[in-house]
Symmetry: C2
Subunit: 225 residues, 2 copies
């Protein structure tokens, strides 16, 4: 197909497609004449993947390039699909170093922050320089800066709930599939907005039930299960 | 303080502050001379709030304006802090119309989509035109379009887990505080990146535990359901 058709099929503007071509994220089309190139289903699929990473995942071009590199050529030495996918998403090697009891303690050289200590006390694998841990540190600190106090006990309640989410995630990791890393990366990213929407719907449900329990006080006195 | 000090305190560039002033998101400073204005702690707080909404919440200027309007002047008729906050975040009136058994079924005029049917069957309050439901529909469809199949049973597992997150959210809703809506809006937005980081950490933990259970066989030969 021509670039115009590729654009129409994927709903991505031609200018954006050309940008991805220039950046090397999208492989060049098969040259069909001096001025035109031909694109196929692989281009459609790759383009949809890039869009999902950019739009849903909020990834920048450099991060997209990194994720695509891992998806295209996963390190055969690394059998763990999940940690490979996490590294691609976070740009770090946290999961590679993490895993055992030996990494739940940072070396003396770097002081262990309260968030690291909290994660380690929970028994979750992490290590120094873990980008996911840094993400949690930043996000937790941002809550405090915004006047939203989240103490350790509340964070533990959230962590218990999220562990349940993670069990569903891990159960869905495809075993032995050629495109396992790709599917885990995409699945992790694409489920985020689903989980956000579920959270708002569930908040209502829980709130309505509580209001119902409080002797039918409006709004919403109907009791759901 | 001068605008330069406001910028230094909040780490927001002066150009961005001027843009927020022009857009009316940030109230004008107190004029101290013909060319200078004076800003106070309220400006600092408001600016931090705007930045949290834009950066962490990913909200556009129009959405920020809507959220600020609700926070500044919550409808006294609406006692339900949580649904007021949700409406501010989604720009809809979903929660207002939702709640009773009468809304778990759409009017004949509009066919009930499979996602709506799934939410209603779960007993979660929703109604036609509910923006959160539309968000879930879009996000679920995007997963399918990206080749990530999430069936009803798997979505139910995620929903069970997220309901636990929502219980923590609802328990944290401040009762009777003047700034309750503000705190719920900010809390909902600011917790998203915390939950995302927890999810990655928890995925690892669950995966490492499973690998351990599977007698050390890499990478997890245990049979998942």
């Amino acid at each position: 197909m021509r670039i115009s058709e590729l654009s129409a099929t994927t709903d991505v503007p031609i200018g954006t497609i050309k940008y991805y071509l220039r950046e090397g994220l999208l492989p060049a089309g098969h040259r069909s004449s001096r001025t035109t190139a031909d694109y196929d289903d692989d281009h459609v699929e790759r383009l949809r993947l890039i869009r999902a990473l950019v739009r849903t995942g909020g990834l920048g071009i450099a991060a997209v390039r990194r994720v695509l590199a891992v998806i295209d050529d996963p390190d055969p030495q690394r059998l763990d699909v999940l940690s490979t996918a996490q590294d691609a998403l976070t740009g770090g090697k946290g999961a590679e170093e993490a895993g055992g009891a030996e990494t739940s303690r940072a070396p003396e050289a770097r002081p262990v922050g309260p968030v690291h200590a909290w994660v380690a006390a929970r028994g979750w694998p992490t290590g120094p320089g873990d980008p996911v841990l840094e993400q949690l540190e930043k996000a937790w600190a941002a809550c405090e800066a915004a006047g939203i106090h989240v103490d350790d006990a509340m964070m533990a309640d959230y962590a218990d709930a999220i562990e349940q989410v993670a069990r569903v995630d891990v159960a869905a990791v495809p075993q032995g599939a050629d495109d396992a890393v790709r599917r885990v990366v995409i699945g992790t990213i694409m489920m985020e907005p689903v989980l956000s929407a579920l959270r708002l719907l569930a908040q209502r449900h829980v709130s309505v039930r509580q209001a119902g329990k409080a002797a039918g006080v409006a709004p919403c006195s109907a009791s759901h299960r």
